[in-house]
Symmetry: D2
Subunit: 377 residues, 4 copies
């Protein structure tokens, strides 16, 4: 794996590295960690990389690595730059034959997204988008139960992602994360909705297997002088007639990463909370509530295949993130070896999820400005 | 206290009786418990009432009690009939000089509500509406904290009331509760929204001290053949610029009475859950989360005054309900004695809350049918 | 019901009155509320009692009430005085034909306890001891499940009752509760163990249906100058070979009334927590955990019969306490009417539980002073 | 890092590898993964190791690696074999100049433990024992708060580790974990007490900074035919006068890994639960309860230094385990470079903890057999 972005001090780059390293299946072999070549070098050194594999920029990395013999060169690229620098390295990697793991959202705007989708189709290369929350075992279990019809036809979805860290104008300090995420030139047309609303949208569609068909959005910028939305409330219609609510916020004071989802069908309901991710609560019409547990009894193979340790030893965010990487690695290896990957591991978000996320952002922003109640999605 | 409705077997009548009895301040002295005189008699007997104080209907009760000497006759009437039979006894009681405690929603329709409001003003009699959830000590604490500005200016409100008991067509069985609540002739123009949505609306406005000014609603009837909404999702705008979400449902399979509220201000947030009502979670921007507890440390007088037992001995639904009755009784006694009641106890929902609730129902139904995004409230 | 003790301001007297009033089955008709006749009068007035039914002391009350015609005089006496004043009124009541409800522990010492047990047998009168925690519906459910063998043979019991309110020398302030509970002349030979340890012991034996046969205790007085134990840890052996732990404490800083119990059998385990009393967690060897809920699905008749309101409307301490009173009232009425009471309601702690509690106190204190490991119980 | 034991399929070997890999600071370079050379080879291959670094046994590995040039040879050995095979590789590694990371308990018996302690002192080599639960950030926070006196003088400790997985005679199936853990020839003189009781003991002493001085134990073997204890309850005395309870069990049906600890001081109490490890509950005498959160506000540097990701993204068992490895790696690197390691990272269990654990096992077994109440520790 080669990495674009993620120099020392960057939050998400370190996460990707830990997630990729966890299972001993992926080795970081090179990187272009910063747009500042000195920072890139320093980062490479801190990461114990040989200096000739630390590049000044992603262009150099892609070209140089391409020259290396197979087996030695990076097998794929991991892109962990801010949103406006996803497209460049992704496009160039694909054009040069490198599979891609890309942080979400897919791109800066819709046009880029569609272009990348086209390139993935043309090249036939693997492309993973790190909607990491779908990597949790209990999310897999939820999806498996819905798919098998255990809850009956789905009627209602409530998904939410409140955070509080942007309750004040943090971007005016030197907080790097806040700075680019609230900057339309780097983040795109949406703030909270792009950053975390897309996670909520992706999670809801992943678990239910449904698609949002209409939405009605109410975005707000609460912090004076901020340029993008920091809060949003959305009504949803799904393609099977289910109704839903999605809200995401970065001004929900005191909240950490409270991504939660509740799904109700004709026979039962389920509840999952990211901050206590190893429990999946199942509620039934006429039987006692059950609590399914990561690694515990009564789980489907989809959940079991994404669990590393026995029940009661909590798995967390990095393990879920690592499941995206591990599944990508398993599929990539199978492909390189000419095998069909195990269907249980053919399970990671792709460029199609990325395009859908960009559409979601576009429609939500459009709806929020509109006096029309429902906008088709 | 005399009671209209609430014969043996009725859910809410028994609740009112237990709530009223709890503190030894109110005695049930008479009743017209059913539209069926035999059932009324049987109920009175089971309740250990003398047979001459058990009436065939509320009209008889009001007229007969009026003839009794002061001190002996009922001091007020408690109305626990289905929605379409609130107006009749309430009007007649007021016109005959009896204060009223009335179950919610206030009436069958808006017209009745306004008429009752007018009568209350004209007669100067006390009128309580049992939006009982505002009786919980931790709800009082939440309101007190918001009022004192501890959370800063309020930005966001998320209030929800999911139930699952109407996930199937229960009204086709002989379940009495389901039967009248889903019947437009007895319940009014709304189902879930009237029954529990108004509780959510009342709770949000009570704690925040804000008023909803605009809303955008999406009501659904999921169960085939049902005549009223059994689910609704609503976007809210408040009069200070705050945004919100309200959802209520009776098809959220497996949910009991999960009335929950989260409120976020500039400085902090709070969370309260009716099913674990003795904890109030306070989240701060830069300090650890706190859990305030009924009867515990750090509470405002408003909370303390509505607590009966030491911290860690859970108070529940009946105690909260009893706080409505106790406050009503304290205020009534003070009035009868020509005293000013303690402001701490001048705290129960009134006919004005009832009118507001009826407006909410009307606007939500109107919005749900409209293609216009925002409806003024 | 007539009451001995429990003047205005006393904690447990008010609790007994609310618990007794809740269901409309019991009326407070007289009382001797304080050893100070003026306080007794004032309390009676505040409780809306006629002045001729407020007595100067329990002796006067028992004798005067005995003179009243049946139907008018109190049907039973409720004793809510400190421990050293249980025996006197209980004995006199029994000797004069009045059934008794008595607060726990039964008496000041073992001798008194045995004397009362003898009197109850001789008179054949009903006697209830308010080990109120056994009144919770989910405790009934736990007992019913163990009894039906659903957990298999019981192997291990962990019961605990930590409080923190005596972490400082509160008895040196004018806190009345602290004062008598830490005074050997009023409380008896044990402090925390008598006050709350007996609740834990009673709960464990009630749910499991087992009896403690041996114990090994380690009592401590942590607060300087205190005269009785404020903390205790005990190893237990049960009559079926099960092992256990009981710990109770009043110096567990910050704890409220965290009475918790976990019971493990060959097939499954259960967990109940008094501070969230409406959930009963059932853990299975090879199936997902279940959460049973007061009023919810899957409950035994024993639990259902002690529930007043639908699931999700929390019932609390007073409702559980009220179940003791209600069951006592139902049994008393049946007896007076010459009927056999419904077995579901023949379920309240009796003088035998009280004797067992006094033995427990005695054995624990003996064990704590002994160098011998196991003391027979 | 070279690894002794932990072939494919072994639980704890995989855990050690993931924990070591997580931070990119440690690379697995060689191993002797099984006593069966073929299994060792197959494991090495699956782990992508070059075949010449996969050895037939630990003796071969230590000798061969010693021949390799510095920088190429393993920097330390990780021992993840069953208890009876800790001593051999640890001793040989130390004698050949290799630092050691060893799984717990330290050894098969006390004699081996003391011998290893002596060797560590003589060689001056680093030795880490993976009492991994002390690696959790909130455990660090708890220890830091106690050390700074925030809870006042400690009075009471309740530590527990219930599991349920050995509720049946699992060792009679081909379950490898159950097999050696219940076998006195491989596990030593204790079952549950050695396997998980020592974790509880270590956690209690680590957080409080206190030492157990006396204990009174009651061990039981509940499953017929099992050769070692599967349950134990212990009373504790600490060197500052604090009292405590420790219980550990493998027959607590339905429990996963419920390692929990509560500690009470004169000013406040704390509670930590391994299965929800990112919350630390702090209870105060006269202020509301607080919930400290991994990565959240109000934490000491000791907690912050062991956190990888922002609050609300749960860290789990592997991250805590990884903290042991990372701290060991940081200290080892500093030592190799002649630097003083950052005191924040000089924080991992050592051979001294291991000796203490072995003494604990010995004393507990001795106490359980004794009729004497207190055994000095």
């Amino acid at each position: 794996m080669g990495m674009a972005g993620g120099g020392i001090g960057a939050f998400i780059g370190a996460v990707h590295r830990m997630a990729a390293a966890l299972d001993g299946e992926i080795e970081l072999v090179c990187g272009a960690f910063s747009s500042d070549p000195r920072k890139s070098k320093a980062s490479g050194e801190a990461l114990h990389l040989p200096s000739d594999r630390v590049y000044r920029n992603y262009e150099e990395m892609i070209l140089a690595e391409k020259q290396l013999p197979e087996g030695e060169r990076m097998d794929f690229i991991s892109i962990v730059t801010p949103n406006h620098v996803h497209y460049g390295p992704a496009k160039m990697a694909l054009e040069n034959g490198f599979p891609v793991v890309c942080d979400k959202p897919l791109s800066f705007d819709m046009e880029e997204a569609l272009e990348l989708e086209k390139l993935v189709k043309e090249t036939g290369l693997l492309f993973a988008l790190t909607h990491n929350y779908t990597g949790y075992p209990m999310v897999k279990q939820a999806r498996a139960m819905v798919k098998r019809g255990e809850l009956g036809k789905i009627r209602k979805v409530v998904v939410e992602y409140p955070q509080g860290w942007l309750s004040t104008k943090l971007e005016d300090t030197d907080q790097k994360q806040a700075s680019w995420r609230t900057d339309p030139k780097r983040s795109g047309i949406a703030g909270a909705m792009g950053d975390i609303g897309t996670h909520a949208e992706n999670l809801a569609e992943y678990i239910t297997g449904l698609q949002i068909t209409e939405l009605c959005a109410d975005l707000t910028t609460f912090v004076d002088g901020r340029l993008l939305d920091d809060d949003g409330n959305i009504l949803l219609h799904f393609n099977n007639g289910a109704k839903g609510i999605l809200h995401a916020s970065q001004i929900s004071a005191g909240e950490e990463n409270a991504l939660n989802i509740r799904i109700y069908g004709e026979k039962g309901g389920l509840e999952w909370r990211q901050m206590e991710p190893n429990s999946l609560i199942i509620k039934w019409l006429d039987q006692p509530m059950q609590v399914l547990r990561t690694g515990g009894a009564g789980l489907q193979p989809e959940a079991q295949a994404h669990t590393r340790i026995p029940a009661g030893h909590p798995e967390g965010y990095l393990e879920a993130f690592g499941n995206i990487y591990r599944n990508f690695a398993f599929c990539l290896r199978a492909k390189l070896q000419g095998n069909e990957p195990d269907p249980l591991y053919q399970d990671f978000p792709t460029v199609a999820d990325g395009v859908r996320g960009m559409q979601f952002i576009q429609k939500v922003v459009e709806s929020s400005k509109s006096a029309q109640k429902w906008i088709s999605f």
